[in-house]
Symmetry: C2
Subunit: 329 residues, 2 copies
DNA sequence: TTGAAAGCGCTACCAT
DNA sequence: ATGGTAGCGCTTTCAA
């Protein structure tokens, strides 16, 4: 590997001068500049980010920890983040947590050991604060900011960005009411997901506001994810003789799984059962019927992330979800 | 930041001894070991991967370059990769190329500058070999292996892993024949995508083998991607009065977009038009009707990647696609 | 404007 | 079994 000393020797200048030329900050004679640049070109020199990082004390990368990259919301967010970060000259280390707390703590330590510039934690899974506390404190003490997407971690002293899911839940129920639906089921993880709880809270508040009575049998807090979770949970309810005319599903994927189960059971969407999802994923516009959903905004979130990650103020940003009415309601 | 010298001082041993204890390779007295370990614990010492990397000459990370992380195939692959790499103690830098050659070259240089352990390039977009050649050579010369997923780059001297798309195309056409379809359209990027070309080749070979005549009007080489590409392209063909009774779509996403367009146009799948996709994504099992597809195997590919990336032999692995017959045919 | 040199944190070599 | 130390590639003082 050709290093900066080789370039210096080749150009007949000092190492420091090469560094200055490449750093483009300080003034250098046009003559030495050309000398150095041609040496760089001739030797095919590529500066080592490692040397720079060791010297600087940190690597120009941030960690993006995500509960499940296969979920459309997270892959959309990852893409937006990648773009936003690149504009700032930062690389992105992606860590898929697979909903595991052990993985999370491991990856957080990794971030610390790599002296990253920051950590973005995007998961609404529930974690043990006592486990996270010391690790996050460590990170913050090492001047590595941590930002949470999808749930607040105020006790850990970090900022967060989320959608207003309680409001969204209320909106959804009101919309079902306008469609004359009265037996509205809630399909989502609840005990293990903070977002699941928020949406559930909105659901309950919405029922109350509408004067509907709460029915335990219509709350499906299955621990499963994605299409399959929506499918099996809904099919099970149908098989058990539970009756309902609407489903508020915690993600678009759960919603699509639910719709599939409803069809397989021989019922029609939205005639027999109306369905609303969360996320506003692109897929929702291409299933039949098209999915009504509470929009999410990955671009806005990514943009907020880059703004908030390096701001020392601890705060919590909330983004409103808009109801996008399509064919399933 | 507490470093190894602090630990050494605190434990009353030399820096080298601390390193040895932590490296766990060499023999150390139980006594010194405990001394060191307790110093580590007391100081909350975390080894810097940066120091290690500079010393070793490389960072324990690999770059995963992907044309579009939002496409289901790539996010599934990313997830599998993450798991497989972690088992080897490697981190994964994710770079979303957004189908841009400029981004690709930039990211490849970045990999070199970061002294990564390897680069996995997962895209079937077409690139200018003359542009890639010097950069890849550089990488290989620096002992950074490069592996291609989804297309061969034999001229660049790197290994590749792909599915057998020609065979898959032939399988699809034969399957359409068994369903009595004669006017089979091909929907996919062709001129800009190597996989698109392979699948097209299989399509043409399949038609020939079946004795069907090729019809230019049934080849929709639109440059668009994902659901939207499938939707607009198909709707346009329908609007133009093109008639067909089957579509071979280059990805599951294109297929689902096409199905949506067919419905919106007032036709039925599979009654009027049968559809086959590529990829075997989970979503295909939850749309209505369920999608017939040529399976892909992200787990198998990820496993191959970890095997082939560090093997010096240059080779090309091909994985057969299996036709998964479901409701759209 | 340029050069010399220290030092970021680590491992591995050479002594002891 | 342990200690001393060089050196990975870089930036940034301090001097000239």
């Amino acid at each position: 590997m050709v290093s900066i000393v080789d370039v210096a020797r080749h150009a007949g200048v000092s190492q420091a001068t090469v560094s200055r030329v490449l750093g483009q900050k300080v003034f250098v004679t046009e003559e030495t500049r050309t000398k150095v640049m041609s040496a760089v070109a001739e030797l095919g020199y590529q500066p080592s980010s490692l040397g720079k990082a060791l010297r600087a004390g940190y690597l120009d990368s941030i960690a993006f920890l995500v509960s499940d990259i296969e979920q459309g919301w997270y892959s959309a967010l990852a893409k937006q983040m990648q773009g936003a970060l690149q504009a700032q000259g930062l690389d992105m280390l992606l860590f898929d947590l697979g909903h595991s707390e052990a993985r999370l703590t491991q990856m957080l330590q990794r971030a610390s050991s790599l002296r990253l510039r920051g950590v973005v934690l995007a998961t609404s899974d529930l974690f043990d604060l006592n486990v996270l506390q010391p690790i996050v404190s460590n990170l913050l003490a090492s001047n590595i900011p941590v930002l949470s997407i999808g749930q607040r971690f105020d006790q850990l002293g970090i900022s967060s960005i989320l959608h207003d899911d309680v409001d969204a839940g209320v909106q959804a129920v009101a919309h079902f009411m306008s469609r004359k639906r009265r037996r509205i089921a809630y399909l989502n993880r609840i005990s293990l997901s903070v977002a699941g709880r928020q949406r559930y809270e909105g659901y309950v508040a919405g029922l109350e506001r509408a004067g509907l009575c709460f029915d335990e049998a219509l709350v499906w807090g299955s621990p499963l994810y994605r299409f399959e979770g929506g499918y099996t949970t809904t099919l099970e309810a149908l098989g058990n003789g539970v009756r309902f005319d609407a489903i508020l599903a915690g993600t678009d994927e759960l919603a699509i799984g639910a719709i599939s189960a409803i069809h397989d059971f021989g019922l029609k969407v939205p005639h027999d059962v109306a369905v609303v999802g969360f996320g506003g994923l692109e897929i929702g516009r291409y299933v039949t019927p098209k999915l009504t959903t509470l929009s999410g905004n990955p671009a806005a979130v990514a943009e907020q992330i880059t703004r908030m990650l390096f701001s020392s103020a601890v705060s919590s940003a909330s983004i409103r979800r808009e109801l996008v009415v399509r064919g399933t309601t």
